[in-house]
C-alpha cells in the first residue's frame, strides 16, 4: 500500500544504516536459546520452490513418451488421459491454438469462446506448473514424484497442448525455450491497486493501491429508478436444501421453508456410511446408481453379489487402488482411511449404498 510504503522505506533505510554501521546484533540472534541454524540437508529437504526465473529448479529431464506412461498411471484417473478431465477435477489441457502460441495471448479468453479455462489457457509461467506438480500431485500421493518424472509428465502435457513435438525431451536446459512458447505467456497484468506492497515504480507490483472503481456516498434521491439486474432462479432456491433448517427456530426471523413441510418430516436419518464415503472422496468418483470415474455402486453389487469372498477382495482393492476390472482408469489408493473404515464402506456398498 502506497500509504505506508513511504514510512516503510524510511524505516528500511534506517535499518540498513544500522546494519551497515555494523551495530552488532540488530535483533539478529536476539532471543537466547530460541531457534537454531537449519542444516543444509534440512533446507534442501524443504526448499523445493521453483521461481519463474527457474531458481530452485532441480536438474533432470524426461520425454513425452515416458510422460504419457506416467500420466496414464498416476494422473489420468482424475484428470483424464488427455488432461481434459471429467466433471469433478480440474481440466489441465486444451483450449489454445497455434496462433495463441505465436502471440502469447489466449484469444478464447477475451472472445468468450472458451468452454472452460484449462491450466494452459491461463498459466503464463511454466515454472508454476513444474513447481506445483512436484509439490502437490498426484493429489492423493503428493511429493511422490522424482524430478525426472515431473519433466516427463510436463513434456507430455506440453505435447497435448501442441507446444512441443511427440519426440521432445524436456530438461532444465531447454525449459527456458519452452517458456517462450507458452500460449498465455503475455496474458497477465499487474496494473491494479490490489497489491499490498510497494508499487511497480518503487520496484514492487501494481499502481500503489489506486482502486479501479469509484462510488460516491450519495444519501438522498440518488437515482430515479431501481434497476434489478438479476433475481434468484427457482432451482437455486431449493438447491441448497431446506433453508428453514439453516436458521434458528426463534429470533426475529425464520428460515424460509423451501422444500415444503413434507420434505421436512423424515428428519433425514443420519447416515454415517454415506458421510464417510462423501468425506473421503468416494462419492466424487462413484455414483450410487451411475458411473462417474469409477463404476456405480449398483454395478459393483451386480458383479460381486454372488461371490462369498467379495468383501475381503474389495476391501483390499479400495485400500491399494488399482485398475483393469472396470477399464483402464485406475482408482487411487485410499491409504488415508483406516482398515475398519474401508470395511464399513465396502459393506455399505454391497448392501445397496442406502
Amino acid at each position: 500500500m502506497f500509504r505506508f510504503s513511504k514510512s516503510v522505506i524510511a524505516r528500511s533505510v534506517a535499518a540498513f544504516a544500522l546494519i551497515s554501521a555494523s551495530t552488532a546484533g540488530f535483533a539478529f540472534d536476539h532471543f537466547k536459546g530460541v531457534g537454531r541454524q537449519a542444516t543444509p540437508s534440512e533446507v534442501k529437504a524443504w526448499d523445493i520452490d521453483v521461481r519463474p526465473d527457474f531458481k530452485g529448479l532441480p536438474k533432470g529431464s524426461g520425454n513425452v513418451e515416458r510422460g504419457n506412461e506416467l500420466f496414464e498411471e498416476k494422473c489420468a484417473s482424475c484428470h483424464g488421459s488427455f488432461g481434459e478431465s471429467n466433471e469433478v477435477f480440474t481440466p489441465l489441457a486444451g483450449g489454445t491454438t497455434k496462433d495463441d502460441i505465436k502471440t502469447g495471448r489466449v484469444k478464447g479468453l477475451s472472445s468468450g469462446e472458451l468452454p472452460q479455462r484449462t491450466t494452459f489457457t491461463k498459466v503464463a509461467t511454466i515454472s508454476t506448473v513444474w513447481d506445483y506438480i512436484y509439490r502437490a500431485m498426484p493429489w492423493t500421493a503428493p511429493k511422490s514424484l522424482k524430478p525426472d518424472d515431473v519433466y516427463a509428465i510436463l513434456a507430455y502435457l506440453l505435447n497435448l497442448q501442441e507446444i512441443v513435438p511427440g519426440d521432445f525431451t524436456l530438461s532444465d536446459k531447454n525449459i527456458g525455450e519452452v517458456q517462450k512458447l507458452l500460449p498465455n505467456r503475455n496474458g497477465m497484468t499487474t496494473d491494479h491497486g490490489m497489491w499490498p506492497g510497494a508499487p511497480a515504480k518503487k520496484g514492487g507490483i501494481g499502481n500503489g493501491g489506486i482502486p479501479d472503481v469509484k462510488n460516491t456516498a450519495c444519501m438522498k434521491n440518488c437515482k430515479t429508478e431501481v434497476q434489478i439486474g438479476s433475481t434468484l432462479p427457482d432451482y437455486a432456491r431449493t438447491a441448497h436444501g431446506e433453508l428453514a433448517d439453516q436458521n434458528r427456530n426463534f429470533g426475529p426471523v425464520r428460515g424460509t421453508r423451501t422444500l415444503g413441510a413434507e420434505a421436512a418430516k423424515p428428519a433425514a436419518a443420519a447416515n454415517p456410511a454415506l458421510e464417510l464415503a462423501t468425506k473421503n472422496g468416494c462419492m466424487a468418483c462413484h455414483g450410487v446408481n451411475n458411473k462417474i470415474v469409477g463404476p456405480g455402486y449398483n454395478e459393483v453389487v451386480a458383479r460381486y453379489k454372488d461371490q462369498p469372498d467379495a468383501e475381503g477382495k474389495l476391501t483390499a482393492k479400495v485400500k491399494a487402488g488399482g485398475q483393469g476390472v472396470w477399464g483402464s482408469i485406475p482408482m487411487p489408493p485410499n491409504g488415508h482411511l483406516k482398515d475398519e473404515e474401508i470395511k464399513t464402506l465396502v459393506q455399505w456398498i454391497m448392501a445397496g449404498a442406502k
Partner: protein
C-alpha cells in the same frame, strides 16, 4: 405474512383457535418443541382440553412450570469441552452443491445469517482446503526460515513450537475472507442465502509472533529481500508471495492462537500465517516454511488461480487486497420476517485497507440511504458490526448496505464493478448486496445494478 409473531408468548382466546392450521404448519416447521412441550406438560391423555384451558388463562409456558424449573440440572464438567445447546443445530458450516467437486478441494461456508458481533466461533469458521485438512502433531511441527539465496538472510533457522511460543506475542482481531467470496454471483444471482453469498468470511482474535521478529532474528537483509514466500506442511504445501512492506509494518503474524485457544486443525493447527486485509489463500495453514526472496514466485495459487479475468482477456495477477465490503446478515436471503413492525437490521462491514469509517443502509434499493450505528471499538482490518432501526410496513422493500473505509473508498455497485471487470473474474466481488423483501415477509437475493 405468517402469523407467527402472534403465537409464541402471545395469547389467543378460543380453544379451537389455539393454533390455526397455518400456525400448526409453521410450528411444525420451526417450533416442534413448543407444541410438544405444551402438550406434554399438560399430560398426554388430556392434552387437547387442558392445553386449551391453559391458553385461556395465559401462556402454558408460564402457567405450567417447565422441567428446567422443577428438576436438578446437570453437574459441572458434564461436557469437559463445552458444546452449543442442543437447540442450536441449524447453524452449521455447509457446502454449496454448485461448487463442491470433491470434499478435499472444496469450501464450507460460515453461517453468517445467525451470528452476532464480530467474532466467528472457531467451530463455524469457514473452510477452504486444496488437498484435505490434516491434524498436525505440534511436537513434530517445525518452522523453517531461509533465504532464496544465502545473501538475503544471515542464518537460516528452524523453530519448534516450544520456541515460537516463548517469543513475545501479539493478539489482534482480523477478518479473513477468501478471494473467491461472492464469486458465484459475478454474473447473476446464483445462491439463496448470505451463508453461500458471503460465508467465505470469518473473524477471529489471532495470537502469535510477528513474522518481522523471526526474520530479524535470522538476520534478514531488508534491502535485498523484498518478498516472502510462505509454505504449508500439508499435501498441497500451499505457497503464496507476500510483500516485505507488510511484514516490516509488523502486521503479518505467525499465529498459533485463535479466540483464546489453539488454532483449529481445519484452520491450520498448530501454525498459520495471518496476513491482515489480504485474501485467505495467503494465510498459509500448517505453516512450515518462510523463504525471503528478491522476486515474486508465481505459485499455482497466484498464477493459475486467484487471478482475475478481465473482459480484454488479461488476468490480474497478485491481486491480494480484499477491498471494502459489507452485507446485511439479518434479515437476509432465505429468511422470512415474522410480522410487520420493528426490526433491528444488522450486518457486518470490513476493509482490507484499514478501519471501517461509516456504513449506510438503504430500504428502497439505493435511492435513499441512512447511516447505521457502528458497534465499536472499530478494529483495523476486522469485521465491524452495524445496526439500524427499521419499521417494516408490510410493503416490498430492497435492503442494501454500503460501507466506507478510512481511505474514503466507497463500496461499489454491481454496475460499477462490472463496467471495469466484466462478469467472469471470479475473485474480489465486493459489490453492494441487495435483499428483496416481499409482502409475505420472504427475503430473497436480488442484484441491483
Amino acid at each position: 405474512m405468517s402469523d407467527l409473531a402472534k403465537q409464541p408468548g402471545h395469547l389467543k382466546k378460543a380453544p379451537e383457535n389455539f393454533l390455526s392450521d397455518g400456525q400448526i404448519e409453521a410450528v411444525a416447521a420451526g417450533r416442534r418443541d413448543f407444541l410438544r412441550k405444551s402438550f406434554l406438560a399438560a399430560g398426554a391423555a388430556m392434552a387437547a382440553p387442558l392445553a386449551a384451558r391453559a391458553a385461556e388463562q395465559g401462556d402454558p409456558n408460564i402457567l405450567n412450570l417447565p422441567e428446567w424449573s422443577t428438576t436438578l440440572g446437570k453437574p459441572v464438567a458434564t461436557n469437559p469441552y463445552g458444546m452449543p445447546s442442543k437447540f442450536e443445530s441449524q447453524l452449521l458450516r455447509r457446502e454449496s452443491p454448485g461448487l463442491a467437486r470433491v470434499g478435499g478441494a472444496s469450501v464450507s461456508f460460515c453461517p453468517l445469517q445467525g451470528l452476532f458481533g464480530i467474532i466467528t466461533p472457531s467451530g463455524l469458521h469457514f473452510e477452504r482446503h486444496h488437498q484435505g485438512w490434516q491434524d498436525v502433531d505440534p511436537t513434530k511441527h517445525r518452522l523453517m526460515v531461509n533465504g532464496s539465496d544465502e545473501s538475503l538472510l544471515k542464518k537460516p533457522k528452524v523453530y519448534t513450537m516450544d520456541e515460537l511460543m516463548r517469543l513475545p506475542p501479539v493478539s489482534r482481531i482480523h477478518f479473513i475472507e477468501c478471494g473467491a467470496n461472492t464469486g458465484l454471483e459475478w454474473g447473476n444471482v446464483a445462491v439463496p442465502t448470505v451463508q453461500y453469498t458471503h460465508g467465505m468470511l470469518s473473524c477471529s482474535e489471532f495470537t502469535g509472533v510477528p513474522l518481522k521478529t523471526l526474520l530479524e532474528d535470522c538476520g534478514v537483509d531488508y534491502k535485498k529481500a523484498r518478498y516472502v514466500l510462505a509454505e504449508g506442511a500439508d499435501g498441497s504445501s500451499m505457497t503464496r508471495t507476500i510483500p516485505m512492506e507488510m511484514v516490516e509494518s509488523g502486521e503479518v503474524i505467525v499465529a498459533y492462537g485463535q479466540n483464546g485457544e489453539m488454532l483449529r486443525p481445519e484452520n491450520g493447527y498448530p501454525l498459520r500465517l495471518v496476513v491482515p486485509g489480504v485474501q485467505g489463500v495467503s494465510w498459509v495453514k500448517w505453516l512450515r516454511r518462510i523463504e525471503v526472496g528478491d522476486k515474486p514466485y508465481a505459485t499455482k495459487d497466484e498464477a493459475v488461480h486467484y487471478i482475475d479475468l478481465l473482459p480484454n482477456g488479461l488476468h490480474r495477477q497478485y491481486s491480494s487486497i480484499q477491498e471494502c465490503k459489507s452485507v446485511i446478515t439479518t434479515p437476509s436471503g432465505g429468511q422470512t420476517l415474522l410480522n410487520k413492525g420493528f426490526f433491528n437490521v444488522s450486518g457486518v462491514a470490513w476493509s482490507g485497507r484499514g478501519k471501517i469509517k461509516q456504513v449506510d443502509v438503504s430500504f428502497d434499493g439505493g435511492i435513499n440511504w441512512k447511516t447505521a450505528r457502528i458497534e465499536g471499538p472499530v478494529q483495523n482490518k476486522a469485521l465491524t458490526r452495524f445496526n439500524v432501526d427499521w419499521v417494516w410496513d408490510g410493503k416490498p422493500a430492497i435492503l442494501q448496505s454500503r460501507a466506507i473505509d478510512e481511505t474514503g473508498y466507497v463500496q461499489p455497485t454491481y454496475g460499477q464493478l462490472r463496467k471495469v471487470r466484466g462478469t467472469k473474474s471470479i475473485y474480489h466481488n465486493n459489490a453492494i448486496q441487495s435483499w428483496k423483501v416481499v409482502e409475505s415477509g420472504e427475503v430473497t437475493n436480488v442484484q441491483v445494478l
